[in-house]
């Protein structure tokens, strides 16, 4: 692998001996879980799985797709395997409409939606710090707060 272990947070140009240590640690941490999954899958007609963290599954032989903006992707370091396709976004229409609050409709810069997802947003200190940093940007942000920050959304208007 030409990229650091998934979810490690290590830089792509970092010390690769640390990557190996992290990989070994991952195998240890997930050892029991992986064995239980693998045994059960085989008992139920599935294949023997390889420890290909974090995908403890067999890829589709037909088509696999993932969402990641092409500008940020790692394809120069790690070309996609066959049958893997990159998408910038999965855009849906849904059946709800969202009205952009009046005070955010116009103003300097771009209007940006910012979310760290289920796990990221429960780190309240991290979120506060990020909001503070975003507040200094010339752009307008809609930040997904999650439950940990009390309300669902916080609107920040920058000047």
């Amino acid at each position: 692998m030409n990229v650091p272990p998934a979810l490690s947070g290590y830089a792509t140009d970092g010390d690769r001996t640390i990557w190996k240590i992290y990989d070994d640690k991952l195998k240890e941490v997930y050892g029991d879980f992986f064995k239980e999954l693998n045994d059960w899958v085989q008992e139920h007609g599935g294949p023997t799985l390889n420890f290909n963290f974090p995908f403890l599954m067999k890829y589709s032989p037909y088509a696999n797709i993932y969402m990641y903006p092409i500008e940020l992707d790692y394809t120069s370091l790690r070309p996609n395997p066959p049958n893997w396709h990159q998408f910038d976004a999965f855009v849906r229409n849904g059946n709800e409409t969202f009205e952009i609050p009046e005070k955010l409709r116009s103003g300097p810069g771009k209007l940006i939606y910012f979310s760290l997802g289920t796990i990221g947003c429960v780190d309240v200190e991290l979120m506060k710090r990020l909001i503070k940093i975003l507040g200094k940007s010339p752009n307008r942000f809609i930040v997904s707060k999650g439950k940990a920050l009390d309300n669902f959304l916080q609107f920040i208007l920058n000047r």
């Binding site: 990229v3 991952l26 059960w40 797709i65 993932y66 790690r78 760290l116």
Partner: protein
Amino acid sequence: MSEKYTFLFAPLDGVGHVNACLGIAEQLRDRGHRVVFATPMSWKGKLEQQGFIEELYHVSDEELNPSQSGAAWWESIMAKMRPAVSGPSIEIHEKIQIPIWNETLNQIKYSDRRLREIVSNVKPDAIVVDYMLHIPALMDQGKLRKLIEKPRFIFIILYFPQFHQAFLGFYRLPSLPLEFQM
């Protein structure tokens, strides 16, 4: 009119996973294909409202307790895990990811029979999943061929790019690059 197919979407029980499927599902629905969603009971009515067929399944005995599935379950598990979120990433694996996956595996085991029944009833031409763990009821080709006469293809959607390769600083930003320190 071109040929119409049946698509079975079976995302992991989470808003983000269902949303990842919806963009594609909407396009298929609008082109006249039959689109079925297999989801836990907590999703009841939500996908039907958007013009999809629902096939529901239970993920545990305690389903009647709403904190056992769906958004309420995520909320309670994340509240419990919160102290670990600020820790080193290897601790996040131990203290957050392992408990979540243990619970997910229990749900996969619990719903296996019903999922096979759904596949056999729906007879999809394609199955679309958003998962990181192997689900024999949905992914095992040998068994599926017996259930479905002509399985055409299977998509696996992953809306977490960070799992696909190194993902830098999702949980913690130990030191922000200079250009962000405004």
